[in-house]
């Protein structure tokens, strides 16, 4: 039994792997996994854009938001991608530092609760982080109240997950130098910390904790897709930290016109209409058809918190140390 006997099998695999052939021009969009999945916005957006561009729009999934940036850094200037879609404001400073992005040049009337002025990164959706619990449970009304309570929560690790990093920034923005105290208070509430959002949400649905860090829009999923109104997001007095998801055009694209067309398409009806019920976030530009009815029942935070990208990047390391010290006791 020599290794030669295995070669046909491996060669066969290689043949299977090279399937899709290009039509005329190809626009490659690097994005996160859940955007591309058959449940995500990817398929509908691909169909809508290909209808008008006479091109082949290809989405390439690369893990979550953070993995997406790492992937781009690994590929470097010779990347095949024309557009990167799915970074958030905690990552844009590092993304800008790669010097791989070009100005997007899109003017749009954004419906974000904050002012947006960034000529490289264009928001395509946004949301508020929130703890999601079961309807009927006693809901704490602030981060402080949560820390003082004995409510159990599952959170994501800020070292490996973007929502986890969002919570870190939420506590830091709301409490500044007292953030360490809040984390010490939260330590006995945290049942466990997971590497990513999926594991945490799965544990919550299995009843491992009273609440999970997710988004204010999560209950809308359960209402619309499962007709289940038993999940609610808790409104906190300190305000809620935002996640703004952005797209950027790569300077090295070999399809600059097509890329510009797609950047403009991002803030148009065809893209934005799909977002609420596939990505379960707020669209960056409210579509003409409006938001789904279930979105009207969601909580509206008293204040939208968001650190400017440079400040978020500077604070991250010290905030991480505080978090680790408080939860390691």
């Amino acid at each position: 039994m020599s290794k030669a006997t295995c070669l046909p099998a491996v060669a066969g695999l290689a043949l299977c792997a090279t399937g899709a052939m290009a039509q005329d021009s190809v626009l490659q969009v690097l994005t996160y996994d859940s955007f591309v999945s058959e449940w995500g916005p990817g398929p509908q957006i691909e169909a809508a854009f290909e209808e008008r561009c006479n091109c082949d729009l290809q989405f390439v999934g690369a893990g979550d938001g953070a993995a997406l940036l790492a992937r781009l850094q690994l590929e470097g200037p010779q990347t095949d991608a024309d557009i990167v879609l799915g970074l958030d404001t905690n990552l844009t400073t590092a993304a800008r530092d790669t010097e791989l992005f070009a100005p997007h040049g899109v003017k749009a009337d954004l419906s974000l609760p904050i002012a947006w002025d960034d000529n490289e990164f264009l928001p395509f959706d946004w949301g508020y982080f929130a703890f999601v619990g079961n309807a009927g449970d006693d809901a704490p009304t602030s981060l402080q109240a949560l820390a003082d309570s004995d409510v159990s929560i599952v959170i994501q690790d800020p070292r490996s997950s973007t929502p986890g990093l969002g919570l870190l920034m939420w506590v830091k923005t709301a409490y500044g130098d007292d953030a360490a105290g809040i984390w010490e208070g939260l330590a006995d509430n945290v049942v466990t910390v997971t590497p990513g959002w999926s594991e945490a949400y799965g544990l919550f649905l299995d009843g491992e904790a009273d609440a999970v860090l997710s988004y204010t829009t999560s209950p809308a999923y359960h209402v619309i897709a499962e007709e289940d109104d038993s999940k609610v997001a808790w409104a906190f007095d300190e305000g809620h930290y935002m996640q703004v998801e952005v797209a950027g055009k790569l300077a090295g694209t070999d399809q600059p016109e097509l890329a510009d067309e797609f950047m403009n398409f991002i803030v148009s009806e065809g893209f934005q209409r799909v977002i609420p019920t596939t990505n379960w976030m707020y669209p960056a530009v409210t579509p003409e058809v409006g938001l789904p009815e279930a979105f009207g029942d969601l909580i509206t935070p008293s204040e939208a918190l968001l650190l400017p990208p440079t400040e978020a990047a500077e604070l991250r390391s010290s905030a991480l140390d505080e978090w680790r010290a408080a939860l390691s006791q």
Partner: protein, 510 residues
Amino acid sequence: MARSPVAIIAPRWPGGASAALVLLLTFGTLAAVAWQAEWVGGLSTGDWAAVRFTLVQAFVSAAVSVVLAVPVARALARRQFRGRGILITLLGAPFILPVIVAVIALLAVFGRNGVLNDVMVWIGLPRVTIYGFHGVVLAHVFLNLPLATRLLLQGWLSIPAERFRLAATLNADVRRLLEWPMLRATAPNAFLVIFVICLTSFATALILGGGPRATTVELAIYQALRFDFDLGRAALLACVQFGLCAAATVLVWRIAARAEMGAGLDRVVQRWDRAPLALDAIAIALCAGFLIVPLGMIVLRGAPHVADLTAPVWWAAGRSLLVASASACLCVCMALSLALWGGRVAAFVGVLPLAASSLVVGTGLFLIVYPFVRPAEVALPVTALTNATLALPFALHSIAPSVAAIQDDFGRLAMSLNMRRWTWVRLVVLPRMRRPLGFAAGLAAALSMGDLGVITLFAGNAQETLPLAMYRLMGAYQMDQAAAAALLLLALSLLLFWICDRGGRVGAEM
């Protein structure tokens, strides 16, 4: 594993080629990552805390797994009962599960809302919590006890029937004369394998450890690669992991004795030493319960939703089967060639992939491949190749002792017949190795089925494997479908394992 004087009979070049491939995928990928790094500072205090935690949890997890496996393996070795074969196959299940499925299964039993706590509340006892150091150990024992049991069981089965017969004739103590020397030889190696597996644990340790206390080196590598894009720190941490593995390997080689059981005529083992049946029954029942109840939870949760699985998930399953088969074939060829090569180099190369961080391997491969082809185009072949290499230590573990024994027992005879190299492999080695070869192929196939390492970095949509599809379903709120995909994954892995393992046992009374 000193080189036997007759090892020279076997052809050498396949072993050399396999070793080169392993070195490329472990040290080569590490070098590729280090090459691209901008070196800014060394390891932080947090990193060293992660090293300490990693070492302690791996040591305790491996020790507990091996100690608990002794009574179970002995019971399985000396008892015949209905369902024994199925039980032994099922024993492979937890080990080959993707981590997240295993964690969910464990939490369904031991979690806050799990079966155990339901029972505790029902009989009026306080709830127990699984999260903490004990949770990490529990999960690692769940994942590795079956492996330890299988490795020790192979040890028991390698004692020729003639030895037991002789011991019975002499009315000698089987435990002291046969079983203890066999354990001295196999247990340290089983400990080593599990210790090194636990060294590279990441999600299991974090989720069940209940927070950043349970930070392992692999998590630190993940952070360095994905969040900080600090390739230098990732490479340093990977070196630390290799260093720990090398130290453990050398230590175990000093401790482990070599069993000298001699040749047998492959008779069916009969035992004359009468041990109390109750003890064996309890050992088997406890172990089976500990392993099968969580697996049952996967079946219960997934079964109602299997019909809802969409076509892309079935396609992904097909791709996984293809990758797993290729990986198993390649892995067995590599393991056999390394075993025939023999010697300490082959043995070391055989442990090396265990210590490799799959994140570093993936990133390094990506850096090596990227200038030449689009990663998605080679996603499946690269995954098959990497999976074969990562499963190599287990395959080698199951094959090497048999090859060494065959060389010791029949090598002189073959040399006196002036047997040619390939003839020796074809006529003497392969026919006598059906059982370990089948087991090795099954293990490699099943491990490859559940792997979620390199593929995450390489695959586009058209190359999605079943574990990746399952993970993406979870990320899109589709928890029910994900549960069904997990069940499908469990079933297919076990099926592959069973087919290979059964194939190896045809005509042999195990």
